[in-house]
Amino acid sequence: MDIQEYFSLVFSDYTLRTITLGTAILGAVTGMLGSFAVLRKQSLLGDAISHAALPGIAISFLITGAKDSNTLLLGALVSGLIGTFWIRGIISKTHLKSDTALGLILSLFFGFGMLLLTFIQKQPNANQAGLDKYLFGQAATLIESDVWMMAIVTGICLFVLLLFWKEFKILLFDKDYAKTLGFNTKAIDILITSFIVLAIVLGLQTVGVVLMSAMLLAPAAAARQWTNSLATMVFLAAIFGAFSGVFGTAISASQDNLSTGPVIVLVAAVFVFVSFVFSPSRGLLFKQIRFIKNRRDLQLHKTLSFMYNIAETHDDISHPHEIKILNNFHGFTKGTLKKLVDKNYVILEGSTWSLTNDGFKTALNLYNQLTKKDE
């Protein structure tokens, strides 16, 4: 199946439609909430939470013996929340730093989860197959009820987000101010963290424990490059996330042997890469261009001020001088001289140059005025 075929089938084929919708919704909700995680400098929290969710899945399977994804995800939610609050406890009450706390909880919970999974696999009833799909995710196992579940959770997220928009925003950018205004910062903090946990847990089935953090971060990190407004960023991140989901599904469906999770992550990474390089205000490409342009302007100014220093010693500012006396050290090249001529600061006559009145004035004020209209 190639990509075109995929897009023609996506509306008619039940499986494809379900998976595509599921990954799109998942991408949107993780992108939305991921923006908050990224801005709060909690990017790695997502990684820790997704790993910490694993024992919950195993335990709820051990208790109920059922493979119903909602029950398992409930277990994941509980154990993810326990992990999150333990991390906060470690950071706030002991000397251990946040990175240690994250790494600790991540590896310990995950190891414990793996212990339980291998323990389950040795059990006599053969119902356990398929639990390991939560490790790397299997979008193909999504069914319509899962997608409904995601849609409902996304709806709730969106509702809460809009309802507490002001509170979230102020907590994000100025926590102390929020406190002085009388907001219960702890409650808002817990609310938003819980939603992040919820979004991660939702994605476990599709993308898996290991790669879930990238789903949270990548769309948000990409969206951050295009805007400085929170609302736009959240919106953009949701779009990027959704598109990563759709494209990732399309690519993995059109090839054999490509699991959906890693492909979605790679597509999201492409979004990040493009944003890093091509974003107009922050992107590396335009930054470099601006850098080069600034350097050129500086060279031009240097040449001009050198000319000014020479012209100053003469009564007639337009007294012609040989081009030869200009040197490289002052940023002189043929190009810069031509630019000066274009700007009508300098007149060239044969092998001599002379400053114009205009050029003299500009050079005089070069270091007095900080804002120049022509640069």
Partner: protein
């Protein structure tokens, strides 16, 4: 105990020691999450190395994979340096991408060979004794034992050779740089050692356990001591202890050894986290409570010193004046009495000369903004703490 069991425990212990040493420094340098990133992102290196060498234990594969680990670190630092995102986001972006590439390469190419992701994540310690190293036909022991043994030797040698430099650059980067130790060389040296250890250990115990073995013993030791040497020794002891007890736990449960060692590490950390003498959570909560009461006591004494009016110092009016609840006022009053700071005469509270002296000194410290000094004073004045 069969010889295979002894060998497994030996390998697990060696891995624990080899991880604990770099782990201690990673925790102290606040780079614990880097080990997580490395453990994931070596996957493509392992896969490529495997395609080239067709042998999971070849030294070339270990070097290639370790190189991927160092590349991860460089990439993270590069992204961070552009200022587009913060460091943690950079880490969180780089390793899933590399890991995804590894997963896809395995899915595409290595379906028919012995290399699956579960093995990379979890390792199979139980199988390690069956892969023997034969030197001219003589069986000299399991391959993993030799690999992790040599990595451990190198790590210990490097540690002994550069202990001073490592210590200095960990605790005072600026001083280390000004004394002429290049921070970059030490940094990348540590990263290389961590990468090599991760790669060497992953085959035996899997990527996740490597992270756990690096961070958990060091974090537990950090809560128990403030001495670098003691911390190193403690984390090695913790690592080995969990490795051996984890093995027997797995044996009893018939489950993954790696998972069970991690669980043991978790139990160990939980115990230390709760009961560590001065940094454990119970000690911290107790100290916080103590300090809360002592601060209240100070406030109370200051109040007494400031007010001569008998009305203000009547026992029954105190809670109104300082706005405390009854229970709290009673605790504070009792503490003050026990420490001979106050006298109660006919329901009017007076400062004793000792209480007066304490309060005067405390005020001095407060107005000169040296509040921390008050803590030291408490030892001189208090018979009973809060």
């Amino acid at each position: 105990m069969s010889s295979a069991q002894i060998e497994i425990q030996l390998i697990a212990s060696l891995v624990a020691i080899a991880c604990a040493i770099p782990g201690t420094f990673l925790v102290l340098r606040k780079m614990a999450m880097i080990s997580d990133a490395i453990s994931h992102s070596i996957l493509p290196g392992i896969v490529i190395g495997f395609f080239i060498t067709q042998d999971l234990n070849s030294p070339l594969l270990i070097l290639l994979a370790a190189l991927t680990g160092v590349i991860t670190v460089v990439l993270v630092e590069y992204i961070q340096k552009t200022g587009l995102v913060k460091e943690d986001t950079a880490i969180g972006l780089v390793f899933p991408v590399l890991f995804s590439i590894g997963v896809l390469m395995i899915a595409k190419k290595a379906n028919d060979v012995h290399l699956d992701i579960d093995a990379v994540l979890l390792g199979e310690l139980a199988l390690a004794p069956f892969d023997r190293l034969l030197i001219s036909g003589v069986d000299v022991g399991p391959k993993s034992l030799w690999i992790i043994g040599s990595i451990l030797c190198i790590t210990v040698l490097l540690l002994l050779a550069f202990f001073k430099e490592l210590k200095l650059s960990t605790f005072d980067k600026g001083l280390a740089a000004s004394l002429g130790f290049s921070p970059a060389i030490i940094h990348y040296g540590l990263m290389t050692v961590s990468s090599i250890t991760t790669v060497g250990a992953f085959d035996a115990v899997g990527a996740i356990l490597v992270v756990a073995l690096m961070i958990a013993p060091a974090a537990s030791a950090y809560l128990l001591t403030t001495d670098l040497k003691k911390m190193l020794i403690l984390s090695i002891i913790f690592g080995v202890l969990s490795a051996i007890s984890g093995y027997w736990f797995a044996h009893w449960l018939d489950a993954s050894i790696a998972g069970s060692i991690t669980t043991m590490l978790g139990v160990l950390f939980l115990i230390v986290y709760l009961f560590a003498p001065s940094k454990g959570i119970i000690a911290v909560l107790y100290r916080e409570k103590q300090q809360r009461i002592e601060v209240s006591l100070l406030t109370f004494l200051l109040h007494l010193k400031n007010h001569d009016d008998e009305n203000e110092r009547h026992v029954n009016h105190l809670n109104e004046h300082i706005n405390w609840q009854k229970v709290r006022s009673k605790i504070v009053l009792d503490l003050a009495l026990k420490n001979n700071m106050i006298m109660i005469d006919d329901s009017i509270v007076f400062l004793t000369p000792k209480g007066d002296k304490f309060t005067t000194q405390a005020i001095d410290y407060i107005i000169t903004n040296e509040d921390a000094q008050i803590e030291g004073m408490k030892d001189d004045f208090f018979l009973f703490r809060g």
